[in-house]
Structures are given as structure tokens and as C-alpha cells.
């Protein structure tokens, strides 16, 4: 009936579990292909600065002389470009987000 099309839908969903999850009380599970967070492994890095040049937002700051590698977490768009170009495979994009950044400072690894 044209007046009660919605009733079927409403009744069905009144009797099933809600599709929403109570984030942040329940953790959100990342999906298989999610782009979560950039992980840097210091051991293999040779500070060639290619990742900083290729980063589209300028989130990476690399200093070859002082051997410092820094990332501005709030600028990183997790595009994965740096992961593709790193010759020493010291960068990796994981699926989970980790803890949120709360300050605008650079995160240094040296």
C-alpha cells in the first residue's frame, strides 16, 4: 500500500540489532586495505631525502647531515607515495590508526 511502504522497513529494523557501533567505547576494526598510519624503521634509512621530496603535502622533513627524520602527523594524508619510492624499504603503511596526534609538532626520529 502506498502509505505503508516505510512501515515494513521500520518494523524490521526495530527488531534487529542496530547497525551502528558504539565507538569510542568499542574499538573500530580496520578493514583489510585501510590506510592507517605511517611506520618508520630507523635501521634501514640512509637519509636520501627522496621521501620528503615526493611527499605531496610536505609532511616529511629529512635532514641528511644531522641524520634526522621527522613527520608532521597532521599533514600526512597516508597516500603511501613515500612507501613506494623509499629505496631501503624503511617505511610502511599499516592498517590501524594508532593514537591520534594531539599537537602540531613534528615527530622526530634521529
Amino acid at each position: 500500500m502506498p502509505y505503508f511502504e516505510m512501515s515494513r522497513l521500520v518494523l524490521k529494523w526495530a527488531l534487529t540489532k542496530p547497525p551502528t557501533s558504539r565507538y569510542p567505547f568499542e574499538a573500530r576494526h580496520a578493514l583489510a586495505g585501510s590506510r592507517g598510519r605511517l611506520i618508520f624503521t630507523k635501521d634501514n634509512c640512509v637519509y636520501c631525502t627522496v621521501c620528503a621530496k615526493k611527499c605531496p603535502t610536505g609532511a616529511l622533513v629529512v635532514n641528511r647531515a644531522q641524520k634526522k627524520w621527522a613527520i608532521d602527523r597532521l599533514r600526512c594524508i597516508t597516500c603511501g607515495y613515500c612507501v613506494e619510492v623509499c629505496p631501503k624499504k624503511s617505511l610502511e603503511l599499516t592498517t590501524s590508526h594508532g593514537t591520534p596526534a594531539v599537537t602540531k609538532d613534528l615527530e622526530f626520529y634521529s
Binding site: G58, A70, D72, D105, E107
Partner: protein, 158 residues
């Protein structure tokens, strides 16, 4: 990519513009877009029309100093929006628009933002506040308060 690679570019002048556009209207072309490119010496206008998925473009070159062009909104009414945009972004004078917003269509902070092809001088990067001790992120307390110089010279920190 064979995506409509049959595009034609025809050159017109200010004198022949309205006649050509009128002829296209009679054949049943639909206006796709009017775009402008500011080159160093001139302004290049492109009028694009479509019929049965074929694209026909008209090219008009105007000297940069005295850029005036007649409006085609008497033939295609919808062109008023494109022409107001041309005026608001590029500072192009268009004569006789059907609906004239007098510069109030695009309310931008800077008037005529695309008025020149010179790239703006990048502002120097403000020193990143890595020296502040109050940060709780995993920031190494940098021994020198002078952080690593950014390698990239592109700066977007407006």
C-alpha cells in the same frame, strides 16, 4: 585513451565570434564550458560545444591589456554564469551579459585572484614549534631548538 579524441579547435576573432556561436546554436550544439587561460602576452578563451558527444571548441585570443569580449548570453542564456566567472576571476570585461552580477558572483577575499600568471612568492616557513617542552607526542626533546630544515621548498603553510 580513445575518449572523444575527435575534438576540433577552431580559431575565431571578436568580429566573427557571435556569428559562429549563432551558427552552432542553429545546428543544435549545447554549450559545455567557457574557459580562459592567461598567457604572458594575451588571454586565450576557449568556448566548448557538444553535439552527439562530439566536442567542438572555438579559440579566441585577446591582448592581455585590453581584454574585452562580447557576451554570447543573447544566444546561450546559460553563458551568463561562465562569463561572470571570467570577469570575477580573470578581470575580463564582458559586454552585454544577460544577467550581470557586477563582480558579486564570486565573493573572494582577493579581487581577481587569477589575474596574473606569476606564481605568488612563497612565504617563508614559520619556525616549527618543536622547541616547546609541553608537547606530549613522541617528540625527541631536540637538543638544539633548531629543527631539521625542510628539504622541500614548496611551502603551503599560509
Amino acid at each position: 585513451m580513445s575518449t572523444g579524441t575527435d575534438q576540433t579547435f577552431e580559431t575565431v576573432t571578436i568580429a566573427t565570434l557571435l556569428d559562429k556561436v549563432g551558427a552552432m546554436r542553429k545546428e543544435g550544439y549545447r554549450l559545455v564550458q567557457i574557459g580562459a587561460t592567461r598567457l604572458p602576452e594575451q588571454v586565450e578563451l576557449t568556448y566548448s560545444f557538444d553535439l552527439d558527444n562530439r566536442l567542438a571548441n572555438l579559440r579566441l585570443q585577446l591582448p592581455a591589456a585590453e581584454a574585452r569580449v562580447p557576451s554570447i548570453s543573447s544566444i546561450y542564456w546559460c553563458a551568463f554564469l561562465y562569463e561572470n566567472e571570467l570577469h570575477d576571476l580573470f578581470n575580463l570585461q564582458v559586454d552585454g551579459m544577460a544577467v550581470d552580477f557586477h563582480g558579486h558572483l564570486y565573493e573572494t577575499a582577493v579581487k581577481f585572484p587569477f589575474g596574473s600568471t606569476k606564481a605568488p612568492v612563497a612565504k617563508p616557513a614559520p619556525a616549527p614549534a618543536a622547541g616547546q617542552p609541553a608537547s606530549k607526542a613522541t617528540v625527541e626533546p631536540a637538543a638544539s631548538s633548531n629543527p631539521a630544515q625542510p628539504v622541500s621548498t614548496l611551502d603551503f603553510r599560509l
